[in-house]
Symmetry: D2
């Protein structure tokens, strides 16, 4: 299909902070690298402050701006709603958009609570009957190295999975004077390291192995319990200004848990914002009866693979530079050895979303997948609240378990 | 300056293959991440085949297409000419554009011969008097890690430079049945690994050290001297189809040379397309009296730095993840630890070019810098032709030297 | 003190398998590299089979052989007893030796149960009053990189410890046909991966941080529950011969736990023999408020250190090659950059033990330290038996905890 | 053969500095790990100063001491002479020992000049007729990873060799106040970095590829031309004391050369003592038509291998941890994953030397191999003296070449 003959699909986005910038970049560039069933049109951007949303729309390439997301959903020229706001607003926007017949791409975590996530998954299921598609933005599934990891597992190169070892290590709040941004506020963010980055490793572990986390023993910790207030801080980039007083940190700085996977593997997870010197180290290591994999997002173009079926003379973890035409997504970009970066994952995400819409298939990860992650987050929180007691994922949530 | 109030600068580009795609991406996105003195407008794309250039313009975001670069230069709405064609056409296009008063960004190597490069540098110097800017596209200067490397050297963190060790290792023609693409044709490409990738390490070594290569002893080799013809092959991605006969490879597969730098360092260089398993390994290692640096483009977000002034108890090469706000370019993109990729270097390049135009300053690297690299390439070729005889860079080119 | 004028100290060793070979090497070589208060004399080796023990003594450099360890303890020319037998025999031999006034070096884990370990620690305490020294063989404390890690923490370079991340990953029984060697037999070995290699990371974590593990949530798993019997297998090197039937694996293949340290850090531990491709990966990563450390025994000459107090421009994990004269132990061996291997840790261990005897000071780790590790192993086992319930280290062991 | 029934072979060693310590360790321990045709007896150590040689013999395990190496050669109980002195004395001692019917192990480089080396190779050839064995101590051939590298090349896993890239980088004289030790004195050492460490990479490149270096273009540099005198300095460990005046450095600090191998490969070599932060980085990288290898002595238990015949999906450089029973030498030591260190190479060397004596076969590398390395060193020096002119290895040495 030539580009000219492709129908246009109108996209409206809510939010224009960190995630909004990343999603805008994806919508702006996907057509230059991938053959698509639709030409995405960046129709409108929604945000509360008129001045700011207009400036953002101009800078990021959106044709118009709205100050109320409800207006954006009402527009006829908007076919897809892309939600890039904090987690406490996801459910309301997503459900409204789905009910209005808009395809929805929603940032992760799907919601701040299991209840919201369940309602969203149900709304998605209802909309699906009408051909409306929905997808949750666990963008790391589209890191070529992790997509390759999934393929190697699915191809049986690892055999039976024995171990999952997942960590997401950052350090951006190690300074006790870093301000109290919205990500440290439970009402906005739902949880701290757990929901923000722990959600990513939960999804990645389940995605790559194709297995579910069945139950967990967890502990959570807040190392710095009070921080300077940050009146106008937004996102990750807040800077402390003057002394606006101090406030309580209401989320976890770190969450650790061990668990069991549906295929018999044992697993270990850790999410923290206090790993000094680790900037964005999403690490995943998987050991199987036939081989192993290791990945670190700080070297995101590399996948390490051990083939345990080789003779030991020449066996070893191979550093696969995941930039070959044979690799997921990579062939659309540059010649082998030319690295991709962080934002490419979003380009891959919107490409796959457009493909699913075009082929009338279910995109992945679905809202149901998002709910599943939310249930794990919930089990972790409940286990930590009860001093590490084993907690079944998706199990009853009001009575103690043994 | 708000985006709306910025004047527009019309850009016209010639060529739309590998480099054209990369430059288009840069023009398309630079405004979303950087504050610029101008809003670049992607006015026109030039190429010989109408169908292909129109399709490319549509896909890459150019508003119109031209089938003759002379027409593109004639257009009033084109203020900047961006040259992304093979090296044998650079001189003619660039000189014409400069004489027409257009700012010129020209891909590397500047030209295929010293004579052409010298004529281009002279044209640039004449145009400069009229406020016309020119720049040669050694984009790797804009890899944040290499820009940081330059800064650390300039700040004296390495002391006196003793050693430069530079390699550019690829393997895309290791298969003897890989076809005879234009990059293997001396008439089009000027030279093989030497001009294509050797030029990059020559520029990088001179850029990071701030020193010049004075003289060299060289050898060059063509391992596979005949290859299948590739009638319609373009760029790196050619695939052998049927058996169209075989033709002679007229360029080098590998070039090695040792030399001396203007500051007293000794240096070793190697460029090859036969380093099996190395996909895009531009490696630069510099040892100084006070410290050392090491870099590999296959891990382009990392710079390794050794501070020799520390006590030995805790000294060691540090892996600096060059994604901090304190690092060149990085702060404009994502939070720390979120990687940049190959094409970001071009975005940085056009940003710096626009900045130079906006501030009426000379962009770097200049055509004179491009000439300097060409002189090194020429000295390497002459030394290799004379069995490794020491050859002064920029020296007399017709009589033997000792 | 010149070598000739040093008094001699007679050493008797029990056991001559894997650990016996390593300890023999240490006794044989320590005097050639270190200045010692005593010249150790390798007086006698004890083992049950006369033929085997005589051959081993000859090969390993022991002057005589005994077939009963009680005889060895009785000998007047034996001043030090070095215990290299499986864990179920440690208590009896060590207590007898201490009561006979012999200095005792006992391999880890100190014992198979807390009761035995406690009895040994008491015996050591009694003997100490008479100037008799005892030490448990957590030899990895003498890896120069881990000794340097301890020094950096003690010097405050890490600040307050926030995270401990410890793994000991091996893969030698990943093949389900690997035979049922003594290390897979609970009666001999006490536990599986937990006591064998988990003990090492427990000790290493407590040693490097200077903190204690307070409590844990744990899970353990045996992936392969039945294996071929190995009639005459010894140690790690057993090979399956014919089909001698199958037997039950009575120990854990993998043990995972999370916990809290006495200084406020949270910690994660994993010991497994099923990490395909990981041969001997004892990994320790520690994050503090001022810096971080990372170590992997598969690269045992390297310590990675992040100094969080540096400006971010040049900050990064440094690879310290721990072979400098400024580093623990390293100066006694070779020039910088010349690597040490596995057995050097035992040489350092006996050197420090001899030093402690010579200076009438307490060697470290003491039997009390060994008991402390045993208490953690016990808490892990109890937590795992109770489905991950939080379990205090050293707490009451018969009633359930909350 | 049981140890008791093995005949004894008397060993006498000359020199007891750095190399002497390493060789002593090998003789002392080889029997505990390897089955040997002979039991080596450490009969006598020779050195000029009686006090020092007696103390060294005592410390290193030699039964007696001699102050004249001629006496040592005369002894009936000495069957093997091991030469660990500076290069200017090798020829005299080795030839005398060979003529006295002693097997000779001689440290590298074989000699300080081609003439001496040639005389030694001739003496070795004459002695060989009488069953007398000789070997030159290029010990790095016995690093298991390099022995494995040789095997992979010999097995055809790399195909036709295209590139050799060899570096030996150290930094121990980067401080201009490091004193003028014997290794910086041309009369004693023959040359500087070139003969000391360049010899190692020349031998390693020829050994692993099985090819010869045919010719070279070279340059050499002495960065610091004057240093404090070090009256009593010995070996690498000299320390500047007071101000004993300054003297001229008469050897190279760094040597670089490019060349061609007998099988058609091109090669690059660099040896330097001024690579700040590189402590002992002997690096060898080899690219062939079918695969590649990479090695760094600072991680000496690892070999990186790229198998270019695999499909690109899972291809990548494998980190082979060369500690498996399937690997050269490794099985004699510890279980997989337990690292070997620097001195193990010497243990392997004397083991292979004893094996060759026991089986009446020629040990390798022979004195002829040592001569071949000396000829390369000589060609490098001559090329550098003539400003990089191409110089054939083993070619005429008095007339200029073209």
């Amino acid at each position: 299909m030539t580009q000219e003959s492709r129908p246009t699909l109108g996209v409206g986005m809510v939010g224009y902070s960190f995630m909004g910038r990343a999603h805008s970049h994806a919508w702006r560039n996907v057509g230059a690298f991938f053959d698509l069933p639709y030409t995405p049109a960046m129709v409108a951007l929604a945000g509360r402050s008129r001045d700011q949303v207009v400036a953002a729309a101009d800078r990021l390439g959106w044709r118009s701006a709205e100050t109320d997301w409800r207006e954006l959903i009402r527009r006829d020229d908007v076919d897809v709603v892309d939600i890039c706001t904090p987690g406490d607003t996801h459910a309301e926007i997503a459900i409204a958009a789905l009910e209005a017949g808009k395809h929805v791409l929603c940032e992760k975590p799907l919601a701040n609570t299991v209840e919201e996530a369940a309602a969203m998954a149900e709304a998605a299921e209802r909309a699906r009957a009408n051909g409306v598609r929905s997808m949750v933005g666990f963008s790391y599934r589209r890191v070529p190295a992790l997509a390759l990891a999934r393929k190697l597992v699915a191809d049986g190169r690892l055999g039976a999975i024995r171990h999952v070892r997942a960590q997401y290590l950052q350090d951006w709040i190690v300074d006790p004077d870093f301000p109290l941004v919205w990500r440290l506020d439970k009402d906005k963010a739902g949880s701290g390291a757990l929901g923000d980055i722990g959600a990513h490793i939960i999804d990645a572990a389940q995605f790559v192995t194709g297995e579910r986390i069945l139950g967990v023993s967890a502990l959570m910790e807040t190392f710095v319990r009070e921080r300077p207030l940050a009146e106008a801080s937004t996102g990750l980039s807040a800077a402390s200004t003057g002394d606006p007083g101090r406030g309580e940190v209401t989320v976890d700085d770190a969450a650790l848990f061990i668990g069991r996977m549906s295929g018999g593997a044992v697993a270990s997870f850790e999410a923290t914002r206090f790993a000094n010197g680790r900037k964005n180290a999403l690490r995943l290591e998987i050991n199987g009866s036939a081989g192993s994999l290791a990945f670190d997002l700080e070297s995101m173009n590399e996948l390490f693979f051990y083939d345990g079926t080789e003779g030991s003379e020449a066996a070893g973890f191979r550093r696969i530079l995941v930039t070959e035409p044979a690799h997921p997504y990579a062939g659309a970009w540059w010649p082998p050895g030319h690295l991709l970066g962080y934002e490419h994952t979003f380009t891959h995400e919107v490409r796959d979303f457009l493909d699913a819409i075009g082929t009338d298939t279910d995109p992945s990860p679905s809202f149901a997948d998002g709910l599943r992650v939310q249930e794990v987050l919930d089990a972790v929180t409940r286990s930590a609240d009860r001093n590490g007691t084993w907690t079944t994922v998706g199990g009853p949530r009001t009575t103690p378990e043994t």
